[in-house]
């Protein structure tokens, strides 16, 4: 038996995978002061329900927002940042840009480490890693004295061009630990050896900032587990969507940031493989945000850098950059709790503010008075008091209507029903636009993608998004409410080592590239070996661009080693990738390589294929129905209501209909057809758009 445990902001989800591969799950409240208590309670609860003992567990896989929250809430250690003399303020002056052009009162993100805690040492490397100014031993000793006097718990070290030559950073660490053996130290050449000082310094600062907290949490969790009889190994899920050992996680806790959402993407990727769908759009909608990621050939898209703590409407540049390998997703302020309002143009706007779980949507009748997306769904008949799964909540359609009328309807001269249509259409349009822009950013065309929808809110909106995006097929898997935790159990052990190494096709440094690839492979391999002896696969990637451009695109390397044909080979691969991205290549330009990545992962057995089928034994009759707004005919339609667990494989429902279950509701418009699959998934297609 295995456990997947996802500690989120509100709930801790615990999933138990039985020896027969079946899942049971539970949700407990997250215990913020000591998150291990929530997990342990959840695990004990689910084991008791299963009639099993802690000793029956063979593996526990854990993902947590603890590191992310510590960064957002600024609850990390008293941390110092040591940098090259002349570059003390890199993390404060950032890009020198404003993320919002039209705001005179813009507030820029505060640096994670304030200026008084940033120290400099005289030393300097050139772009090729050669010494320009020698490392100042006396100066370093003086800084270490200040660090001792300042009582810092943790120290981040980021020197210029250390991704090319880590010796000075290592030397500083050696001196620091000799003097202050109890201090945590993170050096940028280990945490994130990528070019671009703002991102790298910020990443090493973030790592140092959360390290004492995370190390102590992981230690407590592990010892508590042992104490309660779970002697099985504990592994952490990282932001790149793989497993890492607790030791690695304690060394590089910044890699735990965004690990929960990564679990959702792995969940979808596993389903994609199961159903043999090689182009999938994963759509995860919760109470506050919606997340969209692209999965091709059963692998989620990845990136080398992302932003945490975007303060202003999730706007780019309003957060802090972290350069680590991460599953790429777009997150927008569109969840069930997102609040609707009308702006000065008379336009309906959704979010980014959310009513959260307290006070919650107006329909929850727990004191919320502002209309939310959930309230619109209640008004439109998609959610109904009789079939609303969440325990302890008595949905009030009257309160929903009141809130919508007050904040939207009255302003626009619409009745509650029309205003609710507006709210629903705008939030669906926002998600659709975000998905399209995300696809464009990744050089993809969404035509032919299959949508997989999970999270409490997604199945309510997914069929509308399907139509708006012009996709043909939607899958609503079972267990959608705890998708991330299930995803944890599907993840391979993996580690991606990334390093900047600049060369170009006119004068390709074959020896340098080979050495670096070998080093990256060894590094990634050693991390994976901390967790497993299983066979591994190695993937190599290089980010390239035309000389003169500032944006790189990733190119997969087929070979593990280069010979003197390297430049031609790389140029050909880049040209092909560029054409795929942008439609056309450009002749006769030099091509540059910027960063290189090697990912080593344990081989995961491909899941057993499940054949999706629209074959049906006929439309199931249901005696229950209720009026629901149908966006296709644009009017109220009497719609079928059916419980998901009453549907057997092959049973079909024709829209308009709602399929209800504990944690969510799947909505079908009048031209949708839904067929229950043997594994419990719902397959939704449009009439005349059935793919077998």
């Amino acid at each position: 038996m295995r456990i997947g445990a996802d500690v989120g902001g509100t709930f801790t989800d615990v999933v138990l995978e039985g020896t027969d591969g079946s899942f049971t799950s539970t949700k407990v409240l997250t215990t913020h002061e000591a998150p291990e208590i929530g997990i342990l309670n959840g695990i004990e609860q689910i084991m008791t329900e299963a009639g099993a003992a802690m000793a029956d567990l063979v593996q526990i896989i854990h993902g947590t927002t603890l590191a992310t929250n510590a960064l957002i809430e600024r609850r990390g250690a008293n941390t110092a940042l040591v940098t090259t003399k002349g570059f003390r303020d890199v993390i404060e002056t950032r890009t020198e840009g404003r993320y919002e052009q039209y705001d005179l009162n813009i507030v820029l993100p505060k640096p994670l480490i304030p200026r008084k805690d940033r120290f400099v040492v005289s030393e300097r490397l050139s772009a090729s890693g050669d010494e320009l100014i020698p490392f100042d031993e006396d100066g370093a000793a003086a800084v270490i004295e200040e660090i001792a006097d300042g009582g810092y718990q943790s120290v981040a070290v980021g020197f210029l061009h250390s991704y090319r030559n880590p010796l000075n950073e290592r030397r500083f660490r050696e001196l620091l630990l000799a003097a202050l053996p109890d201090v945590s130290v993170s050096i940028s050449s280990e945490v994130s050896p990528q070019m671009r000082e703002y991102e790298r310094f910020n990443t090493v600062a973030a790592n140092a900032y959360v390290q004492p907290l995370m190390a102590s949490y992981l230690m407590r969790l592990q010892s508590e587990l042992t104490e309660r009889g779970a002697s099985c190994p504990l592994y952490m899920i990282h932001s790149g969507g793989g497993l890492m050992s607790v030791e690695s996680a304690a060394d590089f806790p910044v890699r735990l940031v965004e690990s929960g959402p990564a679990g959702g993407a792995i969940f979808a990727a596993d389903l994609a493989a199961r159903y043999g769908r090689d182009r999938v759009l994963s759509f995860d909608m919760g109470g506050t945000t919606a997340k969209i990621s692209l999965i091709e050939d059963f692998n989620p898209a990845t990136a080398k850098t992302f932003e945490v703590d975007r303060s202003a409407r999730f706007k780019k540049g309003s957060g802090m950059p972290i350069s680590i390998p991460v599953i790429e997703m777009i997150e927008i302020g569109a969840g069930g709790g997102s609040i609707a309002s009308v702006d000065s143009l008379g336009q309906i706007r959704i979010g980014p503010h959310s009513a959260g779980s307290e006070p919650g949507p107006a329909a929850y009748d727990l004191g919320g008075t502002e209309p939310t997306v959930t309230d619109a769904n209640v008004q439109l008949g998609r959610l109904h008091p009789e079939t609303f799964g969440a325990t302890g909540i008595d949905l009030s359609p009257a309160k929903a209507a009141q809130a919508i009328t007050n904040a939207v309807g009255d302003t626009l001269g619409m009745d509650a029903a029309t205003a609710a249509i507006g709210i629903s259409e705008v939030v669906d349009e926002n998600m659709t636009n975000a998905a399209r822009v995300h696809a464009v950013e990744n050089g993809k065309n969404l035509a032919g993608f299959t949508m997989i929808a999970f999270g409490g809110g997604a199945p309510l909106h997914a069929s509308r998004l399907l139509d708006k995006l012009g996709l043909d097929e939607l899958i609503v898997p079972p267990g959608a409410g705890v998708g991330s935790a299930i995803g944890f159990l599907r993840a391979p052990f993996s580690y991606e080592a990334v390093r900047s190494f600049y060369t170009n096709t006119d004068a390709f440094d074959v020896a340098g590239a080979n050495t670096m690839l070998a080093e990256l492979t060894a590094e990634a391999e050693s991390f994976v070996r901390r967790g497993t002896d299983a066979p591994t696969v190695v993937e190599r990637q290089v980010s390239m661009r035309y000389a003169g451009q500032g944006w790189e695109i990733p190119v997969t390397l087929e070979a593990s080693e280069f010979d003197d044909q390297a430049a031609e080979l790389l140029a050909a691969s880049f040209t092909k990738a560029y054409e795929e991205f942008f439609g056309r290549a450009i002749d006769d330009l030099r091509i540059e390589t910027v960063s290189w990545a090697v990912k080593v992962s344990s081989v995961v057995e491909p899941p057993e294929r499940v054949l999706l089928s629209s074959d049906t034994e006929g439309i199931v009759a249901s005696s229950a129905s209720r009026p629901m707004y149908d966006p296709v005919t644009d009017d109220l339609k009497e719609s079928t209501v059916i419980y998901r667990d009453s549907m057997t494989a092959g049973a079909a429902i024709a829209g308009p209909a709602v399929i209800v279950e504990d944690q969510t509701t799947t909505v079908l418009a009048s031209h949708h057809l839904c067929v229950m699959q043997p594994d419990g998934s719902l397959l939704v297609t449009r009439e005349g758009a059935v793919r077998l």
């Binding site: 303020d89 020198e96 840009g97 705001d103 005179l104 200026r115 336009q347 349009e429 822009v437 500032g550």
Partner: protein, 543 residues
């Protein structure tokens, strides 16, 4: 209008903006020009069949705000309405009909449904080169600044104008990149055209006219509502900036009526001998940007939100340079127009208008050349964008080392050193450079750079706010003026062509922003923090 129709129009309005953002994003990713990708020096818009802008992508620089909007009517007029065919693509880089200098190429594509013209897509981006002397202020007439493409067809009914391609190829440096970027602009319009047609099909429309009217009505009403509380009258301001070879006085008189605002620039200095002159359409963009950011920051840019903002100026003052005045680096003066106009509105909008800031960027644009003729090294061009401090706001400190009104971003020092023979020895906050005040001005920064071995830098200095610092407001102190010198103490002119020798470093101290309100009213905790963080040292401007 029925409520349902209303909802459809709201959805389509959102969709149009999203389509344009997709276009802009593609341009940023493929562009070769540094200022496109780092400064967002590009724009994309959709227009109705009369050439009125319906929506525009929000990009990094305000310089395209009105210029872009005004461009399409010129295209319609110059091409001739009867010569607009399906499959056509038009082009220009005329500074007075496009966006203010030859480096910006604007491409416009008509959209047809069946045989009916329903509108246009247009986009603009700064290209790497347009021939002539290269990018800089040295030309005395526009003829020396490069080639000018009058409004003409790039593609006629699907047929590429290969003569024009050939002429461009033979007249610019880096011709593959330039022609590549023009193709990129045309492809960007084509993407927009297809997405628009898909949207029209989805909503069962065959014209944009009703949607455009809806958007204009809504925007007009919101713009008027934003202007309504503003005190009517005429408000003036003057500002002296360093200029190129002599100080430039900028003067504005803003008349606020119940119909809108007009900025008149009478009293402004005459045109310069150098390419820092500004076409009036570009000055209009920075005026309008200033007014919108102060009064109605949430309004989208379109025909109706821009129409109430007009400008006037005598011919051949520096902000109304006419052909053939040189205008290559029009942003150097143009960027001050926003602070100038905001300053005029400080009286009627005392709780909105910030103090003056560093304004113009301190760009370092150098030609790295061999320091020793006998040991030639490959010539390399280097470009860095750097910003001083912005002015303090009525309730907030100014922004440190952050551009305003430009949306420009800096480049990573490590990335810059990877590409060019430059070493950036220092790039740090300049202590004590923010003007003291109840709210402190944003701090400037100190930058120290030098060539790598074997190279020297030859470059055109264009650093402003050295003789004329950013002024404080409401009793706030001025920001620190800028300084430029070599590390051995050799003074360095802030304007003009000079050399940084191989073994020397250039030190630039960028100006700070002005303070807002009397310094003695500064919150004691804020003051203590300034000292603790080292933003202010005793004896500094705040001391």
């Amino acid at each position: 209008m029925s409520s349902k129709r209303e909802l459809h129009y709201q959805v389509m309005w959102n969709r149009l903006i999203s389509i344009l953002e997709e276009q802009a994003l593609t341009l940023v990713r493929t562009a070769f020009s540094t200022s496109v990708r780092e400064a967002g020096d590009l724009s994309a818009g959709v227009f109705d069949r009369q050439g009125r802008m319906i929506a525009q992508a929000v990009t990094g620089t305000p310089g395209h705000v009105n210029t872009m909007a005004a461009a399409v009517p010129h295209f319609i007029e110059d091409i001739g309405p009867h010569r607009i065919y399906p499959g056509d693509v038009y082009i220009t880089n005329d500074p007075w009909k496009g966006t203010g200098h030859l480096h910006d190429i604007t491409v416009t594509t008509p959209v047809f449904v069946e045989d009916d013209l329903i509108g246009f897509f247009a986009c603009t981006a700064h290209v790497v080169d347009v021939g002539g002397r290269g990018y800089g202020p040295d030309a005395s007439e526009i003829y020396e600044e490069g080639f000018l493409i009058p409004i003409m067809k790039w593609v006629t009914r699907g047929e590429l104008n290969t003569d024009l391609v050939n002429i461009i190829k033979n007249n610019v440096r880096e011709s593959d990149q330039v022609v590549g970027d023009i193709h990129g602009l045309a492809a960007c319009n084509e993407t927009g055209r297809r997405a628009l047609k898909a949207m029209l099909a989805e909503f069962d429309l065959d014209t944009l006219d009703d949607l455009a009217e809806f958007i204009f009505d809504r925007t007009h009403a919101a713009t008027m509502a934003a202007l309504e509380p503003v005190q009517k009258g005429t408000f003036t301001n003057t500002m002296t900036v360093d200029g190129y070879d002599e100080p430039v006085q900028l003067a504005v008189s803003i008349e606020v009526t119940d119909k809108g605002m007009n900025a008149d620039f009478t009293g402004t200095s005459g045109i310069s001998k150098y390419g820092i002159n500004v076409p009036l359409n570009y000055a209009a963009a920075y005026f309008t940007y200033g007014m919108l950011v102060a009064l109605a920051p949430e309004l989208p840019n379109n025909y109706a939100s821009l129409a109430p903002f007009t400008v006037s100026a005598p011919e051949n003052v520096i902000v109304n340079a006419v052909h053939p005045a040189p205008v290559s680096v029009r942003h150097v003066i143009g960027h001050f127009v926003t602070d100038l106009c905001l300053g005029a509105m400080a009286e009627p909008l005392p709780n909105t208008v910030p103090a003056e800031g560093a304004g113009a960027l301190w760009n370092f644009q150098a030609s790295a050349r061999s320091a020793d003729r006998d040991n030639p090294v490959p010539p390399i061009e280097i470009l860095m964008f750097n910003s001083g401090g912005s002015g303090a706001r009525p309730t907030l400190d100014g922004l440190t080392a952050t551009a305003f009104p430009s949306g420009v971003m800096t480049m990573s020092a490590e990335a810059t050193e990877q590409i060019g023979p430059i070493i950036i020895w220092r790039k740090e906050i300049r202590e004590d450079s923010g003007g003291a005040g109840k709210q402190r001005g944003g701090l400037g920064q100190v930058i120290e750079i030098g060539p790598t071995e074997g190279y020297q830098f030859e470059f055109q200095a264009m650093f402003d706010r050295v003789a004329n610092p950013a002024r404080g407001r409401n009793g706030g102190s001025d920001g620190a003026p800028g300084k430029v010198y070599l590390d051995d103490g050799t003074p360095f002119a802030t304007k003009g062509k000079q050399i940084v020798p191989t073994d020397r470093r250039l030190i630039m101290e960028l100006p700070g922003g002005g303070g807002f309100g009397p310094p003695e009213q500064r919150d004691s905790a804020a003051m203590a923090n300034d000292i603790e963080q080292g933003y202010v040292n005793s004896g500094g401007l705040d001391g």
